[in-house]
Amino acid sequence: MENLGTGITLTVVGMGLVFAVLILLAVLIAVGMRLGDRAGDRAARQPAPESEVQQTHSALTLHRLTPLERLGDQSDHQPTADELAAITIAVRVHQIVRRKQAAPAMRTHQPGALPSRWLAIGRARQNQTWQRR
């Protein structure tokens, strides 16, 4: 019976300690997570550095320009008329090659300019009145 008394004491103290340590851990983790969330929110609210915005903007603008216009932007190097002509021809040839590679040989229109056969038939059928056969 003496041993059993010791056992009961061990159980009460032991479970109490386990709960106490884990509750403390849970509270600390919750507080840490909340602080982490706040720090994250603060970082998200801050505007991006100006230089980064400018870089992004200029990259986007550059993407929309034609190769000739892109070259024109570079003030430190002015290509000659021959160079510009060569580059223009090269870009045009490249576009043609890409188009040939991406489309059947007999295609006469740009990809996407016309609906596919399946789509065309589907659209046509939508315009017909449905009749029971």
């Binding site: 061990l10 340590v21 851990l25 849970a26 983790i29 840490g32 982490g36 994250g40």
Partner: protein, 372 residues
């Protein structure tokens, strides 16, 4: 040819005892369970092999300079192997679900009641306090913790305790579901829990293992080796800068140590030490420990529901044990049986990882209370 020439040749046959033969059969059974049923094969296969090797007549492997004896002294007698395995476990565990919902730690704490409940039952059966605590630690459902604690408190019971811990761990999917169904109503099993994934910053993930080690180390110094190694592995994983160490800890080191640990544990299963009534009692108490853990987790989750605005499905309470990720999967499976669209897995994973930390702390608490 005189009889002295023949004697060494038949020495093995004449030295075999019924007890040793029975233990060889037990070893064979463990190997069968590992291969045919895939019950914790990584551990049960080496344990079974160790048991057979240790019980072969006149086996030099268990002599003073025998391999099994050396392995035991090198890694189990000084608690090295369980601690190395903890580094690997830490390196493999993602504590993310727990960080998302730290309340789950309470379920992990409740899941340790089996340790103390079994301790009381063992005392009632006549074991002394240290033995009872070692048996109770089976309720941590954590092999390395069981080995670590029992090798310090009752090394003579190490064999049956390790066998019970590992073989029952693989039986979690069999032991838990009936208790889960018995202690919960259909309505409770239907409770759905919202899951919204929170982004956990790298800083939080990295500071978590450091914080846990310091807090637990200060509050329960006896748990420092266990929690320290577990969290070291996790720190390496989350830091992301020591991939080689993380991979080595979770693969090579964990695998090599598991093999050595299994063989060393198997070598403690020698007939004269293992074939005792105590062994049967330990095996029976081991099942009791698992059942008590499950029941305590479920009932504590139900208790939380009385005070909580957001209802918890009690099934995840049963996952607050260290058997990772099996217990979480079992909770999910039982929930799906009732409601095909009830997804509790992430909540159960949180409780399950909480159970891992809680079992280590409980082991440290037991050692702190009993080591003089």
């Amino acid at each position: 040819m005189d009889p002295t020439t023949i004697t060494p040749l038949v020495q093995g046959i004449v030295s075999i005892t019924p007890g040793a033969a029975l233990m060889i059969a037990v070893g064979g059974l463990l190997i069968y369970l590992a291969i045919a049923r895939e019950y914790e094969p990584m551990l049960l296969l080496p344990i079974g092999a160790g048991a057979i090797l240790a019980n072969l007549p006149l086996s030099p492997l268990v002599g003073p300079d025998g391999l099994l004896n050396i392995l035991y002294q090198a890694g189990v007698g000084n608690e090295l192997f369980p601690l190395l395995i903890f580094v690997g476990i830490g390196a493999m565990t993602d504590f993310g679900p727990l960080l998302e919902n730290p309340k789950m730690l309470l379920l992990g704490a409740a899941g340790q009641f089996g340790i103390f409940g079994t301790l009381l039952l063992a005392l009632l059966l006549g074991f002394d306090v240290n033995e009872a605590a070692s048996i109770g630690i089976i309720g941590a459902i954590d092999g390395p913790t069981s080995i670590y604690v029992s090798s310090r408190l009752a090394p003579h019971l190490l064999g049956p305790i390790a066998v019970a811990a590992y073989s029952y761990m693989s039986l979690v999917p069999v032991i838990q579901p009936p208790i889960m169904r018995l202690l919960t109503t259909k309505g409770e099993r239907h409770i759905r829990m919202q899951y919204t994934q929170r982004t956990i910053s790298r800083r939080t993930r990295v500071s978590f293992p450091i914080l846990v080690t310091i807090i637990v180390g200060v509050l329960v110094p006896m748990a420092t080796p266990l929690i320290g190694m577990l969290m070291l592995g996790n720190l390496m994983r989350e830091a992301g800068v020591v991939d080689r160490l993380t991979k080595t800890s979770s693969n090579e080191i964990a695998n090599v140590v598991t093999l050595f640990l299994g063989l060393a544990i198997g070598s403690t299963m020698q007939a004269e030490a293992f074939l005792q009534l105590d062994t049967l009692a330990i095996l029976a108490l081991g099942i009791g420990a698992f059942a008590l853990d499950t029941a305590a987790g479920l009932l504590f989750a139900k208790l939380l529901n009385l005070f909580s605005r957001v209802k918890i499905n009690p099934l995840i309470g049963a996952a607050g044990i260290s058997a990772f990720p099996m217990a979480a999967r079992v909770a999910q499976k039982v929930a799906l049986e009732e409601d095909f669209e009830n997804f509790l897995l992430m909540h159960a994973m949180g409780a399950n990882t909480a159970g891992q930390i809680a079992s280590v702390i409980a082991g440290g608490v037991v050692l702190a209370l009993l080591t003089r």
